[in-house]
């Protein structure tokens, strides 16, 4: 056994500092290089994933069903063996230094799996022990209170609703004070109110310095929560960027012009602009790259006047992450 084989006893965040390991302190929260996975069935679930996730950020992995999001998370957390590549968590290789790496990581898996016959408190205490930490009533109480589970601490898990079970799984993952938290579709099957609570919890965690990596099918969730977004499709990372940057670069804007008097066809003068007629001729729509300069709008407006069309109202709309996502994934196929 190597020196790193011992789990840090002081809590994960202090693990690297305790060893005076400066490199590990500066390393990204997560760093994947050339990670590929081919399942025994021959299915290639991941291909050459390169990804760095910085400390303290909220990173959203976005992708359609079967894209490989869970596979990637499971590789990092030790549930799936990768076929090639390396992964480091805060500088610790997840295979060679699995103890140091795993001590830092909390996982809330996609599937709801709980020990039906255990009580909430027992199962959360169990998780903390499993991660090599002594009992800490105060911390466990705080986690359970944060997740509105404290009043149900004595309940057997089978008597809880699905949303409560999911919160129990989050409590288990937080029981050992991880500095990196994986949430694999945390809000699947969770009602709107609870989803808001969950988002708040995630923000609070981030404020306390926890790096959060989540997958989701709800694009508004990534839009609302994430600092950066990685789009994954068919086992490949198609794009990784700041959420706002992604929306700026890849996003399109739509300019809608409401007309005073309806028209039946786009006037000849305006043909070069690629306009579309809407609302039975009451409006025209113009789609343009968000990043592009504003000359085209300027000339469009001038041409509208030249065509004798009187403008009643103008509205612009930015494309959502969802639209970007759909177009990216379509491009791939």
């Amino acid at each position: 056994m190597t020196a790193t084989d011992h789990p840090p006893k002081l809590g994960p965040q202090r693990g690297a500092a305790r060893r005076g390991d400066a490199a590990a302190d500066k390393a990204p929260a997560l760093s994947a290089r050339g990670v590929s996975k081919t399942y025994a069935s021959g299915l290639v679930a991941l291909e050459g994933i390169d990804l760095d996730i910085q400390r303290g950020e909220i990173f959203a992995l976005l992708g359609p069903n079967g894209a490989g999001k869970t596979t990637l998370i499971n590789i990092v957390c030790g549930l799936v063996n990768k076929s090639s590549g390396t992964v480091r968590a805060a500088g610790h290789d997840i295979v060679a230094e699995y103890r140091a790496a795993r001590s830092l990581i909390g996982l809330v898996p996609q599937e709801l799996t709980t020990d039906a016959f255990e009580t909430v408190l027992a199962t959360v205490n169990y998780s903390r022990g499993l991660f090599g930490l002594p009992k800490n009533r105060a911390h466990i109480e705080k986690v359970l209170r944060d997740l509105a589970l404290w009043d149900r601490r004595g309940s057997r898990l089978r008597s809880l609703s699905g949303g409560m079970k999911r919160r129990v799984m989050i409590a288990k993952a937080l029981s050992h004070e991880p500095s990196i938290l994986f949430l694999d579709e945390p809000t699947a099957g969770v009602d709107v109110e609870l989803r808001r609570d969950m988002w708040q919890l995630v923000r609070r965690l981030r404020e306390s310095g926890v790096t959060i990596i989540l997958t989701t099918h709800y694009i508004e969730e990534a839009e609302e929560m994430a600092d950066r977004v990685g789009v994954i499709s068919k086992g490949r990372l198609v794009v990784v960027d700041e959420k706002t940057e992604l929306m700026r670069k890849l996003g399109r804007k739509q300019l809608s012009v409401q007309l005073e008097t309806p028209i039946t066809a786009i006037p000849r003068v305006l043909e070069g602009h690629g306009l579309e007629l809407g609302e039975g001729g009451r409006s025209v729509h113009y789609v343009y790259e968000a990043a592009q300069d504003s000359h085209s709008i300027d000339s469009l407006l001038r041409d509208l006047g030249a065509a004798g069309l009187r403008v009643r109202d103008i509205e612009t709309r930015q494309s959502t992450l969802e639209e970007i996502f759909v177009s990216l994934v379509k491009e791939e196929t």
């Binding site: 084989d5 011992h6 789990p7 399942y39 025994a40 499971n74 957390c77 030790g78 549930l79 799936v80 063996n81 699995y98 103890r99 140091a100 790496a101 795993r102 001590s103 990581i105 996982l107 898996p109 599937e111 799996t113 709980t114 020990d115 039906a116 016959f117 255990e118 027992a122 205490n125 169990y126 998780s127 903390r128 022990g129 499993l130 991660f131 090599g132 930490l133 002594p134 288990k172």
Partner: protein
């Protein structure tokens, strides 16, 4: 060593066992009592002493061993199969726990249960026949060794099994016959010539022989042979578990 993890697994498993402890005791105690009624009283009355021990007393160590072995395999296999089946195994796999620690926790708990059951069967047997234990320390040592070794075997079965059918397969098709043919009801030299050699390939023979020796000072094989075979069995089982965790066999995709 992640001692907290070992403690957590062990306590978790024991708590699970104690929730249904009454049930898990009824079956072995009842079947042991039935064996005594049938073999000890009904048939044993017509059998002379075996190696200077009354037949009823002669079968006690073997009966305990038989129950301990089957209980160990089923406890050991269920303990790890259940989280696999439920999916809760994800937590163990994602935790900073080495295979040694996982094995100590799971197998330790399974073996503890078997030992408790063994002691209770011993007490039950005391109600039917007068017992004497010549080498109490050796008796305990054999009980512990048998429980640990077969709980470990159970652990392997629990990882290998992919359905509840397979989970029951090894205990009924392998362990039960081996235990029955393990010299519980007879001494090896009561068998016809060739069989005396064949049964020596049955590891349970060595366990029962050693265990019976700790009671009555009579054995089918030497104490050294008993310990050697159990030790070998234990080493093979440990090597298998090491390989399982190394490769992630049936645990990781």
């Amino acid at each position: 060593m992640n001692v907290y993890a070992i403690r957590a697994i062990y306590a978790f498993e024991m708590a699970r066992a104690f929730r249904s402890f009454g049930q898990s005791l009824i079956s072995p105690v009842l079947s042991t009592s039935l064996y005594f009624v049938v073999f000890g009283a009904a048939i044993g009355g017509r059998i002379d002493e075996v190696e200077g021990v009354s037949y009823g007393a002669f079968i006690v160590p073997g009966l305990i061993m038989m129950m301990v072995l089957t209980q160990s395999v089923s406890n050991g296999s269920f303990g790890i199969y259940f989280p696999r089946f439920m999916g809760t195994i994800y937590e163990l796999l994602s935790a900073p726990v080495s295979y040694v620690e996982a094995v100590i926790g799971y197998v330790g708990a399974a073996a503890t249960k078997s030992i408790i059951i063994g002691v209770i069967i011993l007490a039950t047997a005391g109600l039917f026949v007068p017992l004497e234990i010549a080498h109490p320390l050796w008796m305990v040592a054999f009980l512990v060794l048998a429980s640990v070794t077969f709980s470990l075997l159970g652990f392997i079965v629990g990882i290998w099994a992919e359905s509840f059918e397979q989970l029951g397969f090894i205990p009924t098709l392998v362990v039960m016959p081996l235990a029955f043919l393990g010299g519980t009801f007879y001494s090896v030299d009561m068998l016809p010539g060739a069989w005396q050699t064949v049964v020596l390939f049955n590891p349970v023979v060595y366990l029962v022989s050693g265990f019976r020796w700790s009671f009555y000072g009579v054995a089918d094989v030497s104490l050294g042979a008993s310990l050697g075979v159990i030790g070998l069995f234990l080493a093979v089982a440990l090597a298998l578990v090491w390989w399982i965790f190394r490769t992630g066999y049936r645990l990781k995709a």
